[in-house]
């Protein structure tokens, strides 16, 4: 049984906007879409801490801001430590009115920030960590990260494409015995909204890994950002699930795909993106095998 509350739809969400129009994200950015729904789910009762990333840019330049929640920028390696400090500071002052949320990109999470994230999670710090995964260092000009897919062309894998598969961050976080872990996609905002809402009532460290299509970094037309995000899920490149106290449930489109057994073929996803233009036939087969193996693992664990 799916325990997520299913009442929400695009029309029933809170009308108040916490991400204001006119922000500095790129055209077609999946992050602005995801951030909008995340902030709605938090209903403004949050303090955000952000590491160096696209979100830093999105949130505006001093003295203006494009968000109307309190937010603190912190250096690249340390967003989860910043969140720990916010939690400790609020507790020491007897304040329990705000959810602390740490945001970092995939580089700030899987590479430079993994030490502070692991520490905060090991301490079961009461906060929500969101990794928005646009699969590379997009803010600094599309360098590859630990989260970049196999075969993708980036500015630091410019000729051969990346030669190894991405780290599985949610799996690493599962090893920290967290009460709640989820994956989501900016192309499935209601699923994302429901999962973030759920986090507000869970104590301890909550980890969310949100897939974010990036038109300039992945080289596809801005008009296709939502479609690309959907295809990532529909081909199984990205799987939507939640892990509550160790129990995994597929959600949203991934749940339907599992039920109907109709994953789309990889080509439908990669053919839209120039970053995958140099994949050879054997590269594609390796990625398809990687997808199939992971998909079987999720199906075996899924109790939805």
């Amino acid at each position: 049984m799916d325990k997520l509350p299913m009442k929400e739809n695009a029309l029933s969400l809170p009308e108040k906007e916490y991400l204001l129009p006119g922000n500095r994200s790129c055209a077609g950015c999946g992050l602005s879409l995801a951030y909008r729904y995340i902030l709605k789910a938090l209903e403004g009762r949050a303090v955000i801490t952000v590491t160096a990333s696209c979100l830093t840019v999105l949130q505006g330049m001093y003295p203006l801001a494009s968000v109307n929640v309190p937010s603190i920028n912190t250096p690249f390696a340390s967003v989860a430590a910043g969140a720990s400090g916010l939690v400790a500071g609020l507790r020491s002052l007897g304040r329990d009115d705000l959810t602390v949320v740490g945001f970092a990109g995939d580089g700030g999470t899987s590479d430079i920030g993994i030490q502070s994230l692991s520490g905060a999670a090991a301490r079961q710090t009461d906060f929500l960590y969101i990794c928005y995964d646009n699969e590379g260092y997009m803010n600094t000009g599309t360098q590859h990260s630990s989260s970049t897919p196999f075969g993708a062309i980036t500015t630091t894998t410019p000729i051969k494409g990346k030669r190894y598969f991405p780290k599985d961050m949610p799996k690493i976080m599962e090893a920290h015995n967290l009460p709640y872990i989820f994956t989501a996609s900016s192309s499935f905002p209601i699923d994302l909204y429901q999962k973030v809402s759920k986090c507000r009532n869970i104590r301890g460290t909550k980890y969310g890994h949100v897939h974010i299509p990036c038109p300039p970094g992945w080289s596809f037309p801005t008009s296709k950002a939502v479609k690309i995000g959907k295809l990532a899920v529909e081909t199984g490149m990205v799987v939507l699930y939640e892990i509550e106290n160790g129990v995994l449930r597929l959600t949203s489109r991934s749940k339907q795909l599992a039920k109907n057994g109709n994953l789309k073929l990889l080509d439908e996803y990669i053919s839209h993106q120039i970053r995958f233009a140099k994949l050879t036939g054997s590269d594609k087969q390796r990625i398809q095998d990687w997808i199939n193996q992971r998909w079987q693992q999720y199906l075996a664990r899924d109790i939805s």
Partner: protein, 408 residues
Amino acid sequence: MMQKIKSNKDIQIINGNQAAALAVKLCRVQVISAYPVTPQSPLSEALSRFVESGEMTTEYIAVESEHSALTVLNAASLVGARTFTATGSHGLAYMHELLHWTSGARLPVVMACVNRAIGAPWCIPSDEQDSVSQRDTGWVQIYTRNNQEILDTIIQAYKVAESMYVPVMVCFDGFVLSHTNMPVEIPRQADVDGFLPHYKPHTIIDPATPRIYNSVTLPDPRFEIPDIPHRGYMELRQLLHEALENAKQKIEDVDKEFAQVFGRSYGGMVWEYCLDDAEIALVTMGSLSMEATVAVDNLRAQGYKVGMLSVRVFRPFPRKEVIKLLKKVNLAVVFEKNISYGYEGAVCSELKASLYDSDAKARVFGCIVGLGGRDVKARELQGVIKKAASVKRYKRTQEDGPQWISYL
């Protein structure tokens, strides 16, 4: 039979780490975050004990690195908490990035730096290379000479930090002070409470008035946004510099006020010993100053007119004070436990720069001593001074660089 001294003073025989821990407790610090590093570890252990036993109601975050420790404190300080960390050596080096963020965000974090040599190669005992290397990070740096001063300076540090919105690093030599027992008078809690008001933050974390901190800032002011503060990055940096400069007066005032309440004073920016009629001055920092006073006494007994100037506050540098105190001196010999490779010791450079074009015409001559905790004896200091005094015009020139008191 030894007579028991009757006193209502609480005097304990404790080491420097214990003195620092007691100061943190007396200051009612609200958030502590630290990572172990020798010789600081007993300090964080003592604080952990205070918190776990309930003697302190403090959030103690035992983090995974010094980088995280200072990030935790920067965030907690932004929320409005009084914060403390302690580190030294490699730990301080690992914090480097965050040191800039603390001062840049104008957060009154107070830190104990238990000075220790830095690798490679590994070296555990004390010199001041670690904190001197962090000179330009916008922190006030106070070098203390004994365990009483460590305790008292941490209390003073919060008052300076929280009124000027600048972070303060209280430095003390590893082992020489951190692990050496001395009698220390413990102030009464009520007196500290009276001396140190609650921290009033300049930051607000509240969804009702949402603010964003440390966001991307342009080099130029944004004159097109006139209604709210809109300074450029450069103006923010100038304000930080001015805050450090203005902290000098605050440090003097706080030290005087401290003397009125607790009966002890440390000279504010500098302290001097027998400088009134001195022709030669020994210039030092930290616990080495205590050894230098022994050298001064011995040299005075042998007829040399010498005195000592100890740089208590290295940043902001006591320009005005050193000019005034060295006005009558012919020669200032700097003994310091740090080296700016390829030039000279940092205190020597600062001293020369301060005296340049001033009324004080003393020649300045630098000696590097005690690196990696090499013991510095009074007779070694005396030897250098005697040699310097023996020639009418001391031959050593600027081009020679510093003299190393070593076996090479």
